[in-house]
């Protein structure tokens, strides 16, 4: 059993255990998510960080059972949310949770909004559906929600269609929709990647503010180490379908205990760094999930790798009070 530190509030809101999701492709079975476990407390912000193909989005989709089958399939694990294993629920039961107690915000708001329905209708729909609120009252609530995400002229915007909105406004509408049923958990998958820099900052600040006000937990999926540093309480770093390091954000940045995390931090330029310094890239390419090495997935790119790393897959073990690392040499690393 994996332990992410003592929780004063008792059982976590979400407890993911040994989650594995596979995709069957022409080139064989791909383990997109492999034995992933983590906990999330009420009101907490957890960032899942990784590069493309690391399994961060598939992890999020698996929690809500949004993996298209075929080709995908959740092959093992538990996703215990508020005491119930979501993976064991009937279809109608999981539908009663999606958009109601767990809401999701996607990267591209244009493709997750229905282009032929007004914004107001789309925000009021989950309220009407899950809470059985009459339409007129649900529309009033939708107007309040749009005002809460600081969309100008909220009331008159109810009748707008998605194409009449800018990218930032659409993402505000998506957040309003996510908040509609006061979810205990919001999962945001790269919610600002498609937006301009100043709008990104607005949307993330808004997301953080509204989740804090509602005491909702937030899973923020991102590739941006800056976003993680600004908004996350805790971090899971994923590589090759597995969590390779996890812990409180400050701890991970101050004392990274996995060569991949250390490498990632050295390879990103920072605004505050002295000029004339060189980045230290990670050599090689991200792993091919259809053909993972038997040992540590990062071993082919790791400067510290020894023979043991190439044959024996490191387990995620304790490296500090609330810090876990999947490196054989986690206690001998220095950033």
């Amino acid at each position: 059993m994996l332990c992410t530190g003592a929780r004063l509030m008792g059982a976590p809101l979400l407890s993911v255990r040994h989650l594995s999701t596979e995709f069957r492709t022409e080139r064989g079975t791909v383990k997109a998510v492999d034995d992933v476990s983590f906990d999330l407390a009420a009101g907490e912000t957890l960032a899942i960080v990784g590069e493309s193909g690391s399994g961060k989005s598939v992890t999020a989709m698996s929690i809500l059972r949004l993996i298209p089958d075929p080709p995908g399939r959740i092959v093992a694990g538990e996703v215990v949310f508020d005491g119930r294993d979501l993976l064991k629920l009937e279809d109608h039961e999981i539908r009663a949770i999606r958009g109601n107690r767990i809401a999701m915000i996607f990267q591209e708001p244009m493709s997750s909004l229905n282009p032929s329905l007004t914004i107001g209708l789309q925000i009021a729909e989950p309220i009407n559906l899950h809470r059985k609120t009459p339409w007129a009252a649900a529309m009033n609530m939708a107007a309040d929600l749009l005002a809460r995400v600081r969309l100008p002229d909220a009331k008159s915007r109810l009748k707008s269609y998605p194409h009449q909105f800018s990218g930032g406004m659409r993402q505000r509408a998506m957040i309003a929709m996510a908040l509609a049923c006061q979810p205990q958990l919001i999962i945001a998958d790269e919610p600002t990647t498609a937006l301009d820099v100043t709008v990104q900052a607005q949307i993330l600040a808004l997301l953080k503010e509204v989740t804090r006000a509602a005491n909702s937990a937030l899973i923020l999926i991102t590739h941006d180490l800056g976003v993680v540093a600004r908004y996350a309480d805790r971090v899971c770093v994923m590589y090759g379908g597995r969590i390779i390091e996890t812990g409180p954000a400050r701890e991970i940045y101050a004392r990274p205990r996995h060569p991949y995390t250390i490498g990632l931090m050295a390879s990103v330029p920072r605004l505050d760094q002295a000029t004339g310094t060189r980045l230290v890239p990670i050599d090689g390419q991200p792993p091919n999930l259809a053909n993972l090495p038997p040992g540590c997935a990062f071993a082919p790119r790791c400067r510290n790798a020894v023979d043991r790393c190439r044959v024996e897959r490191p387990a995620l073990v304790k490296s500090g009070p609330e810090h876990l690392s999947a490196c054989h040499f986690h206690d001998q690393l220095s950033a």
Binding site: E51, G226, A229, V268, L271, T277, R278, Q285
Partner: protein, 336 residues
């Protein structure tokens, strides 16, 4: 590791752009087509680039940074203004007269998937500029040149006979860079060359750009929306907003002493990957989004979002003021 590149470059000018404008007509009507307006994608931009220097162009979508790059290469018709390249005014040059110039000005694109012909082998892609410009007559010399280009960007000799789909995004960008280097250009315009790449691969390509600059004395215009990457690679940075340059500063001044409120806002919007620093950093997030380039606001184009806007900003367009140390800003707060 510290690179030998100095913060300030004082060599001769490779490129001088003055009051460049690129306006796109907006047409309406199916039968009686007429112009109903114009998108002022680039609207009075002036800057210069010295040999061996990297000038960063940074800004949000619609600021005109990519259009500026294409206009300098004359891949778009310029509406007015002057582009002087290596002392030659190329503003009025047609396609035929641009052909010899293009040997000395090359481009590296954002999309390493769309910019390489999938049916050509890597050797043919990298060597194509040599063929086009009649520099492939001696096949032995040609093959040796292609091999040395691949080596220069860190690709192995046996990769020459493979097709683009066999390569990762980072490797494809290396192929694009090798192709840009083939004709030994004096200026390379890089349009978002690392934004499609994964974080760990970005650093490899950024370092390659810097190494090549030191070895070959290359001059770059580096266009990107990521201010942290732009600041890292550039000696000077021009910040653009709605078709205008609002500030030009050295990479040191840009972060330490930004003058234009938009530069301040852009810096504040970018988180620093360190939770300790972020916890104490003032969060000055500006409201609103970039207005349409078809109807830019009167006066200063940034006044609708500017936290420091004054009455004068709503009506008077602030001129660009250049200081003795070479930095420049277009803002009434820093007027004469």
């Amino acid at each position: 590791m510290t690179s030998s590149a100095p913060d300030a470059i004082l060599s001769e000018l490779v490129l001088e752009v003055s009051d460049l404008k690129v306006h796109f007509p907006v047409m309406a009507g199916a039968v009686m087509r007429k112009q109903v307006g114009s998108v002022k994608a680039v609207d009075g931009v002036s800057f210069n680039v010295r040999r061996g220097e990297t000038l960063g162009l940074v800004g949000e979508s619609g600021c005109g940074k990519s259009t500026t790059g294409l206009a300098v290469l004359k891949m778009l018709d310029i509406t007015s203004g002057q582009v002087v390249f290596e002392g030659e005014d190329i503003s009025g040059y047609d396609r035929a007269r641009m052909r010899p110039i293009r040997r000395r000005m090359q481009m590296v694109y954002q999309d390493p998937f769309g910019s390489l012909n999938p049916r050509m082998k890597v050797a043919a892609i990298v060597g194509e500029p040599l063929e086009v410009h009649g520099m492939a007559a001696d096949r032995a010399v040609y093959r040796a040149r292609v091999a040395s280009l691949l080596d220069m960007v860190g690709l192995l000799p046996d990769m020459a006979d493979r097709y683009p789909h066999e390569f990762s995004g980072g490797q494809r960008q290396r192929i694009g860079i090798a192709r840009a280097l083939a004709l030994e250009p004096s200026l390379i315009i890089c349009d978002e060359p690392v934004s499609a790449l994964d974080v760990s691969i970005q650093a490899q390509v950024v370092n390659l750009f810097q190494e090549l600059q030191e070895r070959l004395g290359l001059t770059y215009i580096f266009i990107a929306h990521d201010l942290a990457v732009v600041r890292h690679i550039s000696h000077r940075i021009a910040v653009m907003y709605l078709g205008r340059i609002v500030e030009i500063a050295s990479r040191v001044d840009l972060y330490a002493r930004p003058l234009h409120p938009y530069t301040v806002a852009l810096l504040a919007a970018i988180p620093i990957p360190d939770p300790e620093i972020e916890a104490t950093r003032p969060q000055q997030i500006i409201a609103g989004e970039v207005p349409s380039a078809m109807r830019p606001p009167p006066g200063c184009r940034f006044h609708t979002r500017c936290p420091k806007a004054m009455e004068v900003c709503k009506s008077v367009d602030p001129p660009m003021r250049t200081f003795d140390d070479g930095r420049a800003v277009a803002c009434h707060l820093h007027g004469a």
